[in-house]
């Protein structure tokens, strides 16, 4: 068994075909997982089955509707953006563009998920 923490852990090297590699030890022997690690696996397994299941922040069923609404609004705002007068300080343009971008950004993510590309 191997408990590996931190996304920056370096590559582990295979020492032997049947080796239980311990990163802090060069001793290499095939053994049944030590009692402590068995407990960790069993404990994590028990914890996993006892915890509530994963729930997305936004229900999956809502995503298609959300994609339609957000992208439609983005389209409308983009059209509105194109009609705005050109001013020296484009405050209104920036506001409309920012709103359309944010709505469009999340709309695209929802669209991808709706299409089956689960990002």
């Amino acid at each position: 068994m191997k408990l590996c923490r931190n996304a920056t852990v370096a590559r582990l090297i295979r020492v032997d075909d049947t080796c239980l590699f311990h990163p802090r030890s060069r001793h290499c022997a095939w053994r049944s997982p030590p009692a402590l690690i068995i407990m960790e696996y069993d404990a994590l397994k028990t914890l996993h089955s006892s915890l509530p299941p994963f729930a997305p922040h936004i229900p999956v069923g809502v995503l298609p509707v959300l994609a339609l609404v957000l992208l439609s609004t983005t389209f409308v705002l983009a059209f509105y953006f194109s009609t705005l007068p050109k001013s020296t300080i484009p405050a209104k343009e920036v506001a409309v563009a920012s709103t359309a971008s944010v709505l469009g950004g999340f709309g695209v993510v929802a669209l991808f998920c709706t299409a089956g590309v689960y990002v």
């Binding site: 923490r5 299941p53 953006f81 990002v119």
Partner: protein
């Protein structure tokens, strides 16, 4: 039992030597080894009925020969009748692998216990003859050591080799072991070939004994099922929080390790066999897999394209935490039947709701996901597997526990749709996996709310850039007739 006089000095020598080596702590009252002969996978179960000769004994040693150890891919030790496994450590002495098993309770003098040592061997059989015509039978050879190795003396031991059908072509006759034999050294009874019972066997790990009595025995038998080997399995598991989805994709290189086809393939012969329902035992026309319940969007394609010859029956998804008793059944028919020596590479993948595999600990903000290591193919061995687990972008504090050690583990980054910095990934490599290895890895990680919304903000940034460019472009005059306008 009648002793041959010539073996008495040897016995005395072995007895004295075994006493000096400390092999007198236990005595095997009976050892029974059962070998379930298969194709790619051979299941060996050895039951040791032991008696303690001293007090307070905590460790019992089991021995495996070099050849048997090289073929072993799974080892499990239990007390007979109990589910819990016993811990053990392995050490190598000379050419023997010794497993020191920790007993559940120290054994006092004259107490008995039954220990079951189970090991799965892979690539242990060879097709013989090595070629077979399309309508011929398939025969395999299996070789093992005659005596069950043990550092303790054994009152009686036997080895039973059991095939699927009672069709044995030949089996080896042991030589020079009259000292241990009662009635017959080997007997055949139905689908079993039994070596033994052999009585009063001294510690069989001693060099003297190994030199004089230990010998390989080979059985040659007909095998009625294809010998399947997955030479390479690349499994990618991708977790998506936005889509609440877990995608598992297997790239499989399937190989028929039976006797190679002699002559050419005849489609007429193959169809006649199918029509008469008398398929050749070494030909694989179709495969049935048990996939997780509640899956969707299953896809099956090979290098040519989508393969439509498949049928899926999806089992309903049980509530999380409930025992999974039903599996989705996928019957898939490769583009061509797989004959001996033939390969078939294909991709099989499916989506499943993430809630069926993942849980969330609100106190620590940690997600725990159960990742299946492999989809078992009955009777097949997976020679080489690479398992890649791709976590959501922005996952931190990544850790995992495995039910058995991997050959290697690498943490890296995987870049896919709408990613900026990429997603953390864990790549594990395994070798010689069987049904027993079909367990789950548990991965824990955290994903902050900011990391969740990062994807949407990334696309928003790209769109905003387009708006900025549009804003700039609106202020530029590209008209051709500018001079006329001025006039």
């Amino acid at each position: 039992m009648s002793l041959k006089w010539a073996s008495v000095p040897l016995f005395l020598l072995l007895s004295i030597t075994s006493g000096l080596c400390g092999a007198s702590s236990f005595e095997n009252t009976a050892v029974v080894r059962t070998v379930e002969l298969g194709g790619s996978v051979v299941h060996v179960t050895t039951t040791y009925a032991i008696r303690a000769l001293e007090n307070n004994l905590k460790t019992y040693t089991i021995a495996l020969g070099k050849e048997d150890r090289a073929k072993t891919s799974w080892v499990e030790v239990k007390v007979k009748g109990q589910d819990n496994t016993l811990p053990f450590t392995e050490r190598v002495e000379k050419h023997l692998s010794l497993f020191d098993v920790t007993l559940p309770k120290p054994l006092s003098g004259n107490k008995t216990l039954n220990i079951v040592f189970e090991n799965i061997q892979t690539h242990a059989t060879t097709p013989w003859p090595q070629t077979a015509a399309q309508n011929e039978d398939q025969a395999l050879k299996y070789t093992t050591d005659l005596f069950v190795l043990s550092p303790y003396s054994t009152l009686v031991q036997r080895t039973k080799l059991r095939a699927l059908t009672p069709r044995f072509i030949s089996w080896a006759e042991p030589q020079g072991i009259d000292a241990f034999v009662g009635d017959a050294a080997v007997t055949k009874n139905g689908a079993n070939v039994v070596y033994g019972p052999y009585k009063d066997v001294p510690p069989s790990t001693l060099d003297n004994f190994l030199e004089k009595y230990q010998q390989p025995v080979t059985v040659h038998y007909f095998h009625e099922q294809p010998v399947l080997e997955v030479r390479k399995l690349n499994r990618a598991v991708e977790i998506s929080h936005w889509g609440a989805n877990i995608n598992i994709q297997d790239d499989i290189s399937l190989y028929n390790a039976g006797p190679k086809l002699k002559g050419h393939f005849s489609r007429i012969e193959h169809q006649m066999q199918g029509y008469n329902k008398k398929g050749a035992p070494h030909v694989l026309p179709a495969l049935t897999l048990g996939l997780p319940p509640g899956i969707r969007n299953t896809y099956y394609y090979d290098t040519i394209g989508n393969v439509s010859t498949s049928k899926l029956r999806v089992a309903p998804l049980p509530p999380k935490g409930a025992q999974r008793s039903q599996y989705s059944i996928l019957e898939l028919r490769p583009r061509y039947p797989l004959l001996g020596g033939w390969n078939y590479s294909f991709t099989l993948g499916w989506d499943a709701p993430l809630e069926s595999s993942a849980s969330y600990d609100k106190k620590t903000g940690t997600y725990i996901v159960a990742i299946p290591i492999l989809t078992p193919i009955p009777g097949a061995v997976i020679t080489d597997e690479e398992l890649k687990i791709i976590l959501p972008e922005g996952a931190t504090d990544v850790s995992y526990v495995t039910p058995f050690p991997a050959l290697s583990a690498v943490m890296g980054t995987h870049v896919t749709f709408l990613d900026t910095v990429g997603r953390p990934s864990i790549t594990l490599r395994y070798k010689n996996l069987t049904l027993k290895h079909a367990q789950e890895i548990y991965v824990t990680y955290k994903v902050s709310t900011l990391a969740h919304i990062k994807k949407g903000l990334t696309v928003a940034t790209a769109l905003f850039t387009l708006f900025v460019l549009a804003g700039v472009a609106r202020r530029l005059d590209f008209s051709i007739n500018r001079k006329k306008k001025v006039q």
